[in-house]
Structures are given as C-alpha cells and as structure tokens.
Subunit: 210 residues, 2 copies
DNA sequence: GTCTATATCCCGATAGAC
DNA sequence: GTCTATCGGGATATAGAC
C-alpha cells in the first residue's frame, strides 16, 4: 500500500507513479490549490523539469491522480457490494464506502472532484470513471423495474448524488474532524440510501410527495 | 442585480463590494484556483494594494464572497419554500433551487465549497451558513416525528447531501453543459427528495432495506 | 531520461507618499 | 483610502548538455 500503483521501483524506474504519489501527498497536505508540478518533483527527488518528460503539463499529472483515485474507489465499491446481501443493502454499503473513501483518501477525492479537470480531455480518465459506475450498476438494476435500464441509471444517480453530497459535507467539517464524525456520516448516508431505495418508485415517475 | 450587494457606488464609495463582485467574476471564469487579489484589484480598476485596506488577506476576500453566496442561496431557498404547498414539496423544491443556484451562480457555489476555507475562522460566514440552514429547517421539522429536533436535522442533512451531490455532479458535467442538463438535474433531485421523504422513517431508526 | 540553467510571468504582502 | 514602488518568493515550461 501507500503507493498509488503498488509497484515499487522509483528513482530511475517508475517516475510517473512516484510523481502521482507525491502529488497526492501534496494535495492531501495543501489541497489541490497548493499542489504544483515543481513541488511533486521536489518531493520525488528529481529535478523540476523531469516530470515534463512524462506529463505534458500540470493538468495531465492531475488527471493521472484522478485515474488512481478511480481505481481505488472501484476497489472499495466492489468490496462493499460483495459484502452486502440484498441489492438495497449493497447500495447502502456502497454509498457508505464512498463516504469513507472520501475521508480516508481525501487527496484522491479532491483530485477527482476538486481539480476542475475537463474530463473530456482525458479519455483514460473517462474510462476509469465509467468502470467505477459499472461496478455499482448491478444492484441498481436489481432494484429498478425489470429491464428498465434508464430507471437503474436514475436510481444510481440519486445514490451517487447522495453519497457525493455527504462526502462533501463531511470534508467541509460538518460532522466534525475526527473519526466519530466519519463513522456517523457513513451511517447517515447508508440510512438515507435505504430511505431512497424504499421510496424509489417516486424516482421512476413524477407525482407528488407527503 | 449583477452585483453581490445591490448597491451601486463603486470607485470611491463601495470598494469592498466591488472587489467581491470582481472576485466572483474571476472565480466564474477561472475557478477558485485562478482567482487572485491582484486580479480582483485590476478588474475593479484600483491598485494592487488597495484591497488590503479592506481585507486582511486573500482568504478574507474569499470569505466575503462566500457570505454573499449564502445570502443569495438563502433568498432562493426562501422563495422555493414559499412557493410550494406541502412540507415534502417544500423540501423537493428547495433541493431543486439549490441545484439551480449552483448552475446559475456557479462562482458563488465554488466560493462556498471549492475554496477550502476554514470556516471556523470567519464568524460572519458561520452565521450566514446557519441562517441558510434555518430557512429550510421548517419543512424538515414538519416531516419529522413531532418535537424530535434531531430527526428533523437528520432529514435536512439527507436532503442537503442529496442536493449538494447533484449540484456537484451537474457542475462536473455529468448532465451535459447546457440548459436542458440543468433542468434535468433539478427534476431528478426533486424526485429523489420525494423518494427520500417517502422512505424517511428509515432515517429515524436503523433497520434493513429491500 | 534526467539534470542544469534560464526565460518569463504572476502573486502576496508591505512601506511610505499623498 | 488610494497610489507607486518594491521585496521576496514560487510557478510553468523550454533549451541544451550528458
């Protein structure tokens, strides 16, 4: 662990991965704003110009960080889905995993959403995002009307939005800064997902509420 | 409109407000990252040092932008709540208003969440945030078990999270970049809020899902 | 593939005049 | 309250040697 790739052959062997790891560390310490190519190079122990052999510019390095984030998130999603029983519980534990990911891998979460990247410019990132979505599409399908692919997408979107929002609020300090806050946020988002699942028929057609 | 304060007496009369407006414009164009005190000064037509008579540093100017954002959001929340009938519809239209706010006042939304401000350091901002929350707490209270203030808070939190998430996904380009995407996101978040409201009993106690 | 050196630019913040 | 001038710092990105 601790590296984004798992490989271990820095300093003349895997500079790109080393730069990604360094960049993520910097983002974790100072936010996306405080990250710079120069800083990542310094931390990796190479010259300021070395990164430009591997990444065209700052944004490309950031995009690589975002891809690493997708891979980690996908891993966590897959584990959460596998551990739960019913489709509803799979979605609930998936949203909790998402919030926990934001808390435990804050730098990755920020690289993914706080960088303001134009994702259309990075096909590899687009693919990685699509792969993440696919991982949690299964339970959503099981909860939607049979064969209604759009309904599944809408449900997943609602669940994603819920998790995204709770993660943002958590990182914004709304649950406090320490571990109990993280656990609380995870419980809350899981409960909210269950509520969403229970009321889901309202997602598939547009009538009124109580 | 167009100004954050409504007042109109810039260039020797209301420089702080002018700087806030300029800062928001810059954030809208280049993101929070691309904003600078120097840039805001330039755009306002004053010297680079003038802002420092009114704001101690960059973050203080950003905090003022965030306060302006809270005021605008509160206005919209109040209108949305007033326009809807049942408490459930009030929450639904409130979350839609939140998403629309993010789309139409993107720079304000970013100032509020993308700036990474330590809000504890800016009491005025804390107050403004609290006032926003109070505006939508009414309908949440009406939907919670009678007198259960915590349940109301939890429901509101879920609704806020949902709206926050949809707003983030919208700004991330997940609904496309144009107006139909905005409308779609608003409809979706309203529908999801209704689903949440319908299933809300699961928010107030922790059993399993379907 | 990496280094040294450099060109170019912008920023935050302060000092002191008016 | 605003301006001019300035210090000190750091960033991106490129050129050319090895």
């Amino acid at each position: 662990m601790a590296t984004a790739t798992g490989k271990r052959a820095y300093h003349h062997g895997n500079l790109p991965a080393a730069l990604v790891d360094a960049a993520l560390e910097l983002i974790g310490e100072n936010g996306v704003q405080g990250f710079s190519v120069a800083g990542a190079a310094r931390r990796t122990g190479v010259s300021i110009s070395a990164p430009y052999r591997h990444f065209a510019d700052r944004d490309e390095l950031l995009a690589a960080c975002a891809v690493a984030a997708c891979e980690e998130l996908q891993r966590r999603f897959a584990a959460a889905v596998a551990a739960a029983g019913s489709p509803g519980e799979q979605l609930a534990s998936g949203s909790a995993a998402y919030v926990r990911f934001a808390a435990e891998r804050r730098s990755m979460f920020e690289a993914l959403f706080g960088a303001g990247l134009d994702k259309a410019k990075y096909p590899q990132l687009q693919e990685a995002v699509a792969a993440v979505i696919e991982t949690v599409l299964g339970p959503a399908r099981a909860l939607a009307p049979k064969g209604d692919e759009e309904a599944a997408a809408v449900l997943l979107e609602a669940m994603t939005g819920l998790a995204q929002g709770h993660a943002t609020l958590l990182l914004d300090g709304r649950y406090g800064e320490d571990q109990p806050g993280v656990d609380l946020a995870c419980e809350r988002v899981a409960a909210a997902t269950r509520a969403l699942v229970r009321g889901r028929s309202l997602l598939f057609s547009p009538p009124a509420a109580g």
